[in-house]
Amino acid sequence: MVKKVTVGAVVPWPGSTAENKTGSWRTLKPVIHYEKCIRCAICWMYCPEPAILKVDPDKYPAPEGKPAIAKLPAVEIDYDYCKGCGICAEECPVNAIEMVEEVK
């Protein structure tokens, strides 16, 4: 991406804020306990960055004995961007997300 001073300050680089790793803002860090996660994606819906991704169902373990859940996309926190607001943990219906102290 060549970022010259464009005519009229046009930004012809859609989505380029992704170059800014706002994860460095974080003081609290959400951690998903996959054994509890029912993959409802509410955290994904409400992440304001958005920094929660839907990923391949097999990428993370699902709760034991719940084959239907295991077929749903798993969620993953993109720590490059997560600012640690904690909405995901607050909204998680099964308390599968824990906010822990960020250690840097």
Binding site: K3, T6, A9, V11, W13, P14, G15, S16, T17, A18, E19, N20, K21, T22, W25, R26, M45, Y46, P48, E49, P50, A51, K54, V55, D56, P73, D78, D80, Y81, K83, G84, C85, G86, I87, A89, E90, E91, M99
Partner: protein, 301 residues
């Protein structure tokens, strides 16, 4: 995994826990990629487009604070003339919508431009540092309506901006809350299926300006509705017979539950008289809407 349309990128500089991107993301997910966004000056515009970066993956235009509706009118006219079709969605805060941009919005609605205008209502001028707007609620603290010894916060109730737009006869007007995502998405879908000017006022809890823990954004968006402080409704063509509350809480919670986590109401929570004034405003507003809803549903209008 099939790629899902993500209209906005991370890496923007919104406060942690900001509710505005939730509104924007879901409005645009519903609208799809064939959409042009016009944005009034405000938090959303500033944190999303610091040159040379942009959060947006759809075409996006910002002109000034008070003219998103006028600029969107121009976009619409140009598209029409150029024979192109796209959804045009304008985003403005309460300042850019209910106050300085109100004339331009009224003009856009009166002229009937095919634009969906979404007001992200964080109830004060947050971009400039929490100054009162006409959409700031009764008795709320802001930096220009301080909780003083003589004057305890804003002395006027929240301006009913969606009602005023509805009174223009706009084809579709609704209120929404991100906590009721299905309702919000349905309203966006409905709005985009109708030609002409549409208006959605979405409550947007602001962690910085309302002074609450950033994890509570969605919770407050929910409590605003559960306490009937911010009722969810829709109306078509300014016709009261089409008025519908789209969500009626089974049990109306006391407004205190909505106010409690917000330090902008700390002085209210310490003073039963002030709390009572807010509860009274909420009750009267809700009663009026409930009666209207029932009359409309029972075809008594």
């Amino acid at each position: 995994m099939p790629e899902e349309f993500e209209p906005i990128a991370p890496g923007h500089s919104a406060c942690a826990g900001c509710g505005s991107t939730q509104i924007v993301r879901w409005v645009l997910k519903e609208a799809g990629p064939n959409t042009i966004v016009v944005n009034a000056t405000g938090c959303l515009e500033v944190f999303s487009t610091t040159y040379p970066y942009t959060m947006w993956r759809v075409p996006w235009l910002h002109v000034a604070f008070e003219n998103a509706a006028a600029a969107a009118s121009g976009v619409e006219a140009a598209l029409k003339r150029m024979g192109k079709k796209a959804h045009i969605i304008a985003f403005g805060g309460d300042g850019g919508t209910a106050d300085i941009g109100f004339q331009a919005l009224s003009g856009m609605v009166e002229r009937g431009h095919d634009v969906l205008y979404v007001m992200y209502d964080n109830e004060a001028y947050m971009n400039t540092g929490i100054q009162r707007s006409s959409s700031t609620p009764l008795l709320a603290w802001t930096t220009t309506s301080p909780a003083g010894k003589v004057i305890p916060g804003k002395q006027q109730p929240k301006k009913p901006v969606a009602w005023i737009i509805a009174a223009h006869g706009a084809p579709y007007v609704a209120t929404a809350s991100i906590a009721y995502l299905t309702d919000l998405r349905k309203k966006v879908r409905t709005a985009l299926s109708i030609k002409g000017p549409k208006f959605i006022q979405a409550i947007q809890p602001c962690t910085t300006g309302w002074r609450f823990d950033p994890s509570l954004t969605v919770k407050l968006a929910r409590l605003a509705v559960e306490t009937c402080y911010f009722p969810l409704w829709e109306m078509r063509n300014g016709d009261l017979r089409t008025f519908r509350l789209t969500y009626i809480p089974k049990e109306k919670k006391p407004v205190e539950e909505f106010l409690r986590p917000q330090r902008r109401f700390r002085h209210v929570l310490q003073n039963p008289d002030l709390l009572e004034r807010i509860q009274k405003w909420v009750d009267e507003n809700w009663e009026r809407m409930l009666k209207l809803h029932e009359a409309a549903v029972n075809q008594k209008l």
